[in-house]
Amino acid sequence: MGTHDGPGLRMVVFLQGCKLRCVYCHNPDTWDTHTGQEMTVDALFEKAIHLKPYFGKRGGVTVSGGEPLLQSEGLIPFFKKLKAAGIHTNVDTNGRVLNHFTEELLDTYTDLVMLDIKHMTETGYQEITGLPHKETTFRFAAHREASGKPMWLRYVLIPGLTDTPELLHRLGSYFETYKTIERLELLPYHTLGVHKWEALGKSYPLAGQREHTKQEIEQARSLLEPYFKEVKVH
């Protein structure tokens, strides 16, 4: 259960497998598509029903990862059951997958999408994720916008890498006209996931990277505030 992955109190399902290799990833153990614990839709659904009394007015189920939309096809029956049981559904995604399964999942069964905006430039995007084509994320955002259903954006603030005023203004002005974006969440960079890299025997690309001061975070927040309905720092 968590309170930081979507509205209210939520059951968070971490799905295994991601193609991105984000330098600050705090769950690098979820990259591999061949490991992880297999669970049936029924078992997951049963667990959600067990926890439902805690969801309150706004909580529900979040699928995160890894990149959950790699398993869009499998998520459809899960979300379908959740919706039938009156449970709020949320997908936390990097927006790189958009096939007809994804579209069905998002358009029909997903109450909220939380979309990670990695970077506003192609080089920055590649530097962070190790993959090209930042525009896939924007196509994804446009698709959600067209569907008219709610979306939150998430943006990781890294000193020197994503936090320059120029980049932040670009982020703001790009999405300023979107009607479905309810909130921008700023995630200040932190080192809490470093131990997982070490446990996996991987060297941590951002070793030595400093964290933001409170004041810097506040500056970024107030710079972005005019562009969005709500800007929230996690």
Binding site: M1, G2, T3, G8, L51, P53, Y54, G56
Partner: protein, 741 residues
């Protein structure tokens, strides 16, 4: 027939406070915006109290003592904090925070407590109590047999109310305000006339008790007169209603020093008087809050004379002035009023505090604004606890109840309970593995327990022995309780409180167990892993070798949670078989207060891997650090314990760091509401909520002077953290502080 300006009902014909409340209540569905801060008078008084409290802490926990007067309802002259600023008057003695002698529980205890502060009782009293006057404690030890003495000394039964007063009884203090004492005396006289022969033991006893109650009511009138209050008649306005109610409670805490001296549910009742005065323009909101602030201030300075050893089982000098707030009537109408908010607001106006022990009766049908305010107060102050109103109301049958002590339902004015501390269930399990011998001393405790075969423990064999041992423990526990309560009735009868309860009420015999999580985890280890006892030269277990993994209680895993559930149900079942003094109904609690530390010391290594001497988890909590799957999983495990088999209450103390409840205060409040709704929907009964960082507590250990009001919930009650011993502070810090849900 009562003459009234309120809506009448059966309450005007006979004593029936509930009927008055339900006919006159103004339920409140709004938010906390109407609340106001403390008045100038309140601030002036509280400044004096804070200074006095500091002096008390600096003077080894006692500010002053009286060594000449036996405290009775009317023994002391009037006492004031600062008369010009007091809108509610009355102190237990003639001076703020002065402690007095209440020797009928046990005179040696009084002597000991005084001597620890360099004082001795008046010579004449010493002579009287040494030679002529018998106490509860004397009576109990006259009747105890060798078996009971052995159980006590080995730590199988501890914390028993055999050398201190039993407490737990809640007088219906509202009656004095609603009816005035003349009416109550007349009702009791009518009752007495109806108690007729044949003169059996029970009838004679009851006649004597009711006569004593009438005397206590007369003393209450005298007490009122000392403060120039006319308690003959009912209260006429809000100020009088609060004052009369407090006088009734004050009478109780002047006469008795029971471990828990709970208040009941006066907040909903008092609101009716306050609301009427507000509507008719006689008082303002400021004055309404002032009444409640000053009443609560008085409740915060209730003190009893205790010896240091008492602190081991009841740490931090608690008084358990438990007041319930909220809940619903059976017809679905909420009992939340503006005065429910005003009581909680005292935690802002006067700062956080362990007393009174504010207990919110939670139901998912409570007004949403009230729920959110409660969550906010819990997060801000860690001073309140929550109990499941829906569960208790439906299971126990009344919607007019208070909480005795920490977690125990008690119908107001109709029912009482006999407090019974607790037995050590973890040690009982060790008896099962040691042929009925105490694992530490080797002394035989229970006959007829066969040795368990050498090597890896077999679950069924252990369970069969455990059942036998439990049966014997229950038998001796029951004998002990019967003696204790027989003698308490005889030598230290609660005449002032019983005068405010219906004649011949229903009685619950409140048993308890400690060490539940250890039993559950031990049985799980034996069942799912390979556990081999390591024995000393006397064949007693000194440690256990555990091979393999086993599920641990606190992770929402049925394999072990159902073992915990069954352990409670089984022990309760044993108790139900036994004859109880005054035909009381046996009930069982899973509650330790702070005796979990003392019990740990007296219990050897256990098959779950716990080492000798390590504190138990408090109440029904999972063992520290073993609930590793997040807060909700831990709560779900506790929620599986069946209240029907533990009707005296199931205590769960929950600590969580603020950030894990959400990233801002609005979210945190809302998510705590979600947690409470979820937990109670699973039929859990109780939860203490601490929202704190461990670092705050560690800093308070180093700099106590900076945290005079830091309050933390421990096990069904709250304490000033800085008043705990270093050992108790450390134990609190080792508990699980959930940083994930």
């Amino acid at each position: 027939m009562v003459e009234t300006k309120f809506t009448d009902g059966t309450w005007t014909k006979k004593v029936d406070v509930r009927d008055f409340v339900i006919n006159n209540i103004s339920p409140y569905h709004g938010n906390a915006d109407f609340l106001v801060g403390p008045s100038g008078k309140t601030k002036a008084l509280w400044d004096i109290c804070k200074k006095a409290l500091r002096e008390e802490r600096q003077n080894n926990g006692v500010r002053s003592l009286d060594t000449d007067t036996i405290s009775t309802v009317s023994a002391f002259g009037p006492g004031y904090i600062d008369r010009t600023n007091e809108v509610i008057v009355g102190l237990q003695t003639d001076e703020l925070l002065k402690r007095s002698m209440k020797p009928f529980g046990g005179f040696k205890v009084v002597q000991k407590a005084l001597s620890e502060h360099g004082a001795v009782p008046n010579e004449h009293l010493t002579e009287m109590f040494s030679n002529y006057v018998k106490t509860h404690n004397d009576g109990v030890f006259d009747a105890y047999n060798d078996e009971i003495r052995k159980y006590r000394s080995l730590g199988i039964l501890t914390g028993l109310p055999d050398n201190y007063a039993r407490g737990r009884i809640i007088g219906d203090y509202r009656r004095v305000a609603l009816y005035g004492i003349d009416f109550l005396i007349q009702s009791k006289k009518d009752d007495l006339a109806q108690i007729t022969g044949p003169m059996t033991d029970a009838v004679i006893r009851l006649r004597e008790e009711v006569s004593e109650q009438i005397k206590a009511l007369e003393q209450m009138i005298e007490l009122g007169a000392k403060y120039e209050l006319d308690l003959h008649r009912p209260a006429n306005n809000a100020q009088e209603a609060v004052q009369w109610t407090y006088m009734a409670y004050l009478a109780a805490v002047k006469e008795q020093d029971g471990a828990a001296m709970s208040l009941g549910n006066v907040s909903t009742f008092l609101d009716i008087f306050i609301q009427k005065d507000l509507e008719e323009g006689r008082i303002s909101e400021n004055e309404a809050q002032e009444l409640i602030d000053q009443f609560v201030m008085k409740l915060r300075v209730v003190r009893h004379l205790r010896m240091a050893a008492y602190d081991e089982i009841f740490a931090g000098d608690p008084t358990w002035v438990t007041e319930v707030i909220g809940g619903l009537f059976a017809n679905g109408m909420t009992k939340v009023t503006k005065t429910s908010f005003r009581f909680l607001n005292t935690l802002y106006n006067l700062g956080p505090s362990p007393e009174p022990n504010l207990t919110v009766l939670w139901s998912d049908e409570l007004p949403e604004a009230f729920k959110e305010f409660c969550a906010k107060v819990a997060i801000d102050t860690s001073s309140i606890q929550f109990e499941n109103d829906t569960l208790m109301r439906e299971s126990r049958g009344s919607d007019d109840y208070g909480i005795a002590c920490c977690v125990s339902y008690q119908e107001l004015g109709k029912s009482i309970q006999f407090f019974g501390a607790r037995t050590n269930l973890a040690k009982t399990l060790l008896l099962a593995l040691n042929e009925g011998r105490c694992e530490l001393s080797g002394k035989k405790v229970v006959d007829g327990i066969a040795p368990v075969p050498e090597g890896v423990l077999d679950y069924d064999t252990v369970m069969a022995n455990f059942k036998k041992a439990s049966k014997e423990i229950a038998r001796v526990y029951n004998d002990t309780m019967n003696i204790i309560h027989y003698m308490h009735d005889k030598y230290y009868y609660e005449k002032a409180q019983m005068a405010l309860i219906d004649t011949n009420p229903h009685i619950d015999m409140a048993y308890g167990i400690a060490g539940l999580s250890i039993v559950a985890d031990s049985l799980s280890a034996i069942k799912y892993a390979q556990v081999t006892p390591i024995r000393n030269e006397h064949g007693l277990t000194v440690d256990f070798e555990i091979q393999g993994e086993f599920p641990k209680y606190g992770n929402d895993d049925d394999r072990v949670d159902l073992l915990a559930k069954a352990a409670v149900a089984d022990f309760n079942q044993e108790l139900q078989q036994l004859g109880v003094y005054r035909n009381a109904t046996p009930t069982l609690s899973v509650l330790t207060i702070t005796s979990n530390v003392a019990y740990g010391k007296k219990t050897g290594a256990t098959p779950d891997g716990r080492a000798l001497g390590i504190p138990f988890a408090p109440g029904a909590n999972p063992m520290h650090g073993r609930d590793a799957n997040g807060a909700i999983a831990s709560l779900n495990s506790v929620a599986k314990l069946d209240y029907e088999t533990a009707q005296d209450g199931i205590s769960n103390t929950f600590s969580i760091v603020p950030q894990s409840l959400g990233s801002d205060r609005v979210e945190q409040n809302e998510n705590l509401v979600g947690i409470l709704d979820g937990y109670f929907s699973k039929k859990a009964q109780h939860i203490n909520v601490n929202v704190l960082n461990k670092e705050t507590l560690m800093d308070a250990i180093e700099h106590p002077e900076e945290y005079p009001q830091l309050t933390i919930r421990v096990s069904g009650y709250a304490v000033n953290f800085v008043r705990l011993t270093r050992e108790q502070q450390q134990e609190v810090i080792t508990r699980s502080f959930h940083n994930s849900l």
